[in-house]
């Protein structure tokens, strides 16, 4: 998976980190200190569709069938997350109880073309 630079062309992962202290959320969020809200951006030209390693998605399967059969459609390939991981959070709720939760699929680790 590519990591986006300043000039984005093909599908890549853009790192974006928010420190809870910067948005005045550190009083109710005990851990972690911030959140990696990475996201995917960039183009997926046809020759990149299905790369890297996303062929398992339904969309990619259909798309490759269309391509194999030479059906020229306007279908485009999209730049989407290919790997995500949970974010373990510990925070105070409004009753000042501590809640410890693994929030699934919160951090994008890599991107690819459908």
């Amino acid at each position: 998976s590519l990591r986006c630079g300043d000039d984005v062309t093909v599908c890549c992962k853009r790192d974006f980190y928010i420190k809870f202290k910067d948005i005045q959320w550190q009083d109710w969020i005990i851990a972690p200190e911030g959140y990696h809200m990475n996201y995917c951006m960039g183009q997926c030209p046809q020759h990149l569709s299905g790369s890297p390693g996303i062929a398992s998605s339904f969309h990619a399967t259909v798309f490759s069938q269309l391509k194999i059969n030479g059906i020229n459609t306007a279908v485009t390939s999209c730049c989407v997350p290919t790997e995500r991981r949970p974010l373990s959070m510990m925070y105070f709720n409004s009753q000042h109880n501590i809640v410890k939760m693994d929030v699934p699929d919160m951090i994008v680790d890599s991107c690819g073309c459908t």
Partner: protein, 234 residues
């Protein structure tokens, strides 16, 4: 791509860096609140004494709860700190505990495991055994109470003790009340209550002792409604 700057699909002009960061921060805030099933960020009106917080987190991390139940099933853990008061008149007073559970209302919560953590002081005598009882009680002033847990504690030194209250907590959450009132009594043959916060060497002037603030730990999971409506082939 293409030569016209800005959003190709929505046609909005390109944002400057600062506006883009502001937008991203709002998106991140909304994403976190929605994933935590919160409409808005909790309003923290008073801080939990740091020492009580660290004690509870240490118990949580010690794995007594977290290792016994895997968290992969979308379960989460709750630590609730008790508001304490003495119920009755010393030496027969018992320790009154009040816990709040508003957030869990209407969420079909299944309690997988729950423990009440109470600190029992040593009376200074040689190792001895005391009888500990946890009651479910009504509102303060209401003398009705139901025995939930009773066990014998071996007191070597002042220390924390746990009482399993999984079923009582499940029953309480099913009734959708907001405040759980418990009473704890730890006595040796009618002596003083060794689980009360009064009289411990490091209690603060208000009588409450942040070092030994009782708390409740619960491992819960949200029922998914599907299972409730699942159709079975006969």
């Amino acid at each position: 791509g293409g030569d016209s700057p800005g959003c190709v699909s929505c046609g909005l002009p390109a944002l400057d860096k600062e506006a883009e960061d502001r937008l991203m921060i709002e998106v991140a805030k909304q994403q976190i609140l929605s994933k935590l099933h919160l409409k808005e960020r909790p309003n923290i009106t008073h801080t939990i004494p740091r020492v009580a917080l660290l004690t509870a987190l240490r118990k949580l991390q010690a794995g007594r709860v977290s290792n016994t139940i895997p968290t992969k099933d979308h379960g989460y853990e709750i630590v609730s700190f008790a508001e304490t008061e003495e119920r009755g008149i010393a030496p027969n007073a018992s320790l009154g505990l009040t816990f709040q559970f508003l957030q869990e209302h209407g969420q079909n919560i299944q309690v997988l495991q729950s423990s009440l953590w109470v600190y029992a002081r040593s009376s200074g005598l040689d190792p001895h055994r005391i009888r500990a009882q946890v009651f479910l009680s009504g509102l303060p002033g209401d003398s009705n109470r139901t025995l939930l847990v009773e066990k014998t504690l071996d007191i070597q030194e002042s220390n924390w003790h746990t009482f399993t209250i999984t079923r009582p907590l499940q029953a309480f959450l099913d009734r959708e009340h907001s405040h759980l009132h418990l009473e704890v009594s730890c006595r040796e043959d009618g002596g003083e209550n060794l689980c009360s916060l009064q009289g411990s060497s490091s209690s603060s002037s208000s009588g409450d002792n942040p070092h030994h603030q009782p708390f409740l730990v619960a491992k819960v999971r949200q029922h998914d409604d599907q299972s409730k409506h699942s159709l079975r082939k006969r």
